[in-house]
């Protein structure tokens, strides 16, 4: 009961923040979509970091650490510390510059212009939105599972079917509603403000969870001594090829539509400096407590010294919720749950705004012309499409039993597989329209074939010839793009002049 009350208070605070940022909303689409390109270094960093950390980072990482051990940090988090910042430097900065110079609001506007093809946008739109849906699913599923875990037994007469716990469908509906309210109130500016607040909340609450749980287990040394020694090493849990090919996954940040949009909100290029340096440290502060909690969960016992905290056969998604629910006081449990919800909602908001922006700018306005709709109608169209996508995702959650980590990896694999497209668009003058089509189609087909071969994500450990599917998708995209580009006519000089400015 206490946990649920604390989470509700937190959600009310967020609604208040949404109301405040709505007072600053200028009512035009430029403000709704890119906050009039006015975001400074601190909010940009918090916003980008909050967006990249979702249920995958907290619920997923704890569950994966419980399942395959501490190598989870190396395979995703420390590689992200290097590669995310590299993507911001090598991709984010040039995109910000090109976006500001040419007035781009979305990735698709950029690709259409760079590859001189309107139809490329119609091909990319369903692929990008289709890949965002599993990302949204990761967030909603994580929120539902955690809330169910920490409120078990709290409402026995209200929720009989879930053992008195708040059912996932209710949690998912409520947090979707809260996020929709505050982004409708102020668009990407609201999302940036909310992310700043929520990033602080989830880092602090993660630390509180870590300290509380370790204390309950007899201190950090005692807790680590309880962990399964087989999960303290990489050998036996992850092969060399698997570990190496996991490095492709963080490249996904170079192709996330919501991060592209976040980059465009920056006031100046210098706003990115803090993000480059602080992002790796923030990753460590968020992931290490979760990885250790997952490791401790492999052998932790209750204070009676006998009963395992995590019973055998527990879903990895439920590990964090159960560790918090069983080892923390209700107040701490509530605060930590609010922190987890913060991590999840700080990603959902940017993703919601991004899909709305893409639909309005890349499909409706592009098809019917910029003058066909006034500013208010454009914002309304974005909101309508966002509601549709949220509803579709919500319906998926009711039938989707996949592991958060596995689902996240498939989503990131799709975006990372398309990374050669954005890299070539920025750095390779010889990349052509036909090459771009070949790259996108190659990535889409290989993703679909591999996803089907994995039982649509049911086989969480699926690999192709010993490597992660992302390596195959990335290679297919890169190879198709390069070969077809070399065989087809180079872009026009006008396009090259627009995108490749000579050094002064």
């Amino acid at each position: 009961m206490t946990q649920a009350i604390i989470v509700v208070i937190y959600l009310i605070l967020l609604l208040g923040l949404g109301y405040l940022s709505s007072r600053l909303f200028r009512g035009n689409s430029n403000d709704f979509f890119v906050a009039s390109r006015s975001i400074g270094p601190l909010v940009l960093f918090m916003s980008i970091f909050g967006t990249t950390m979702t249920a995958f980072a907290m619920v997923g990482s704890t569950g994966e650490s419980y399942r395959v051990g501490i190598a989870t940090y190396g395979k995703i988090a420390s590689s992200s510390a290097l590669i995310h910042s590299a993507c911001f430097f090598l991709v984010g900065l040039p995109l910000w510059s090109l976006g500001k110079r040419n007035g781009f609001h979305t990735q698709i506007e950029f690709f259409r212009s760079r590859f001189e093809s309107s139809k490329l946008g119609y091909l990319l739109f369903p692929i990008l939105v289709g890949l965002i849906i599993p990302y949204l699913l990761v967030g909603l599923l994580g929120a539902g599972t955690v809330m169910q875990g920490v409120t078990r037994g709290a409402f026995p007469s209200v929720f009989e079917n879930t053992g008195g716990a708040v059912p996932p469908w209710l949690t998912m509906a409520v947090i979707s509603g809260v996020v929709l309210y505050y982004i409708f109130a102020g668009g990407v500016r609201s999302a940036a403000w909310a992310n700043t607040f929520q990033t602080l909340v989830f880092i602090v609450m993660g630390f509180i969870a870590f300290v509380t749980i370790s204390s309950k287990l007899g201190g950090m040394q005692a807790a680590s001594a309880m962990g399964d020694p087989a999960k303290a090493v990489r050998a036996g849990n992850l092969t060399e090829l698997q570990f190496l090919s996991y490095c492709f996954i963080p490249l996904s940040v170079g192709m996330f539509p919501h991060l592209f949009q976040n980059c465009l909100t920056a006031k100046t290029a210098k706003s990115f400096r803090l993000t480059l340096v602080a992002h790796p440290i923030a990753i460590m502060l968020t992931w290490i407590p979760c990885i250790l909690i997952g490791f401790w969960a492999t052998g932790a016992v209750m204070p009676d010294g006998v009963t395992p905290v995590i019973p055998e056969g527990t879903s990895p998604n439920a590990v964090l919720g159960m560790m918090v629910g069983k080892l923390a006081t209700p107040v701490i449990g509530g605060l930590v749950t609010a922190g987890i919800m913060a991590a999840i909602m700080s990603s959902l908001d940017s993703q919601f705004v991004a899909v709305g922006t893409m639909f309005t700018k890349d499909i409706v306005v592009h098809t019917f012309g910029a003058d066909r709709f006034n500013e208010k109608q454009k914002v309304l169209l974005a909101r309508g499409f966002i509601c549709t996508i949220v509803l579709v995702t919500y319906l998926f959650t009711l039938a989707e039993p996949r592991q958060v980590f596995s689902l996240g990896v498939w989503c990131f694999s799709g975006f990372a597989g398309l990374f050669p497209l954005v890299f070539a668009a920025i750095y390779w003058k010889r990349a052509t329209k036909a090459g771009a089509y070949a790259g996108v189609i190659g990535a889409a087909i290989s993703w679909l074939l591999l996803f089907a071969a994995s039982g649509y994500g049911a086989n969480g450990g699926y690999m192709f010839m010993g490597v992660m599917p992302v390596a195959v998708i990335f290679s297919t995209c890169a190879l198709s793009l390069v070969v077809v580009s070399l065989l087809t006519q180079a872009p026009s000089q006008a396009t090259l002049d627009k995108f490749f400015v000579k050094k002064s």
Binding site: S85, Q221, F243, L276, H279, I288
Partner: protein, 73 residues
């Protein structure tokens, strides 16, 4: 600092990330952190320090904010 130095720095870090020399080592640092985890924490701090150097000494100029032709394209 040139762009080549930045790329070299990233490649060195990429090689350091492949921690095969520790994959069987399950000892605990300070009795708390499995050594493989402690190594990657140190790696993360090194990556952040490296990016600090890049920001300080290899930051590109953008004409959008300085009114001149953009460097680094």
């Amino acid at each position: 600092m040139s762009r080549g130095a930045v790329i070299a720095f990233m490649l060195v870090l990429f090689v350091l990330h492949q921690d095969f020399w520790l994959k069987d080592n399950g000892s605990l640092v300070f009795g708390i952190l499995p050594v493989g985890l402690a190594y990657h924490m140190a790696f993360t701090v090194l990556a952040a320090s490296g990016w600090f150097v890049v920001v300080k000494y290899a930051w590109p100029n953008f004409r959008e904010e300085e009114g001149e032709e953009e460097a680094g394209q």
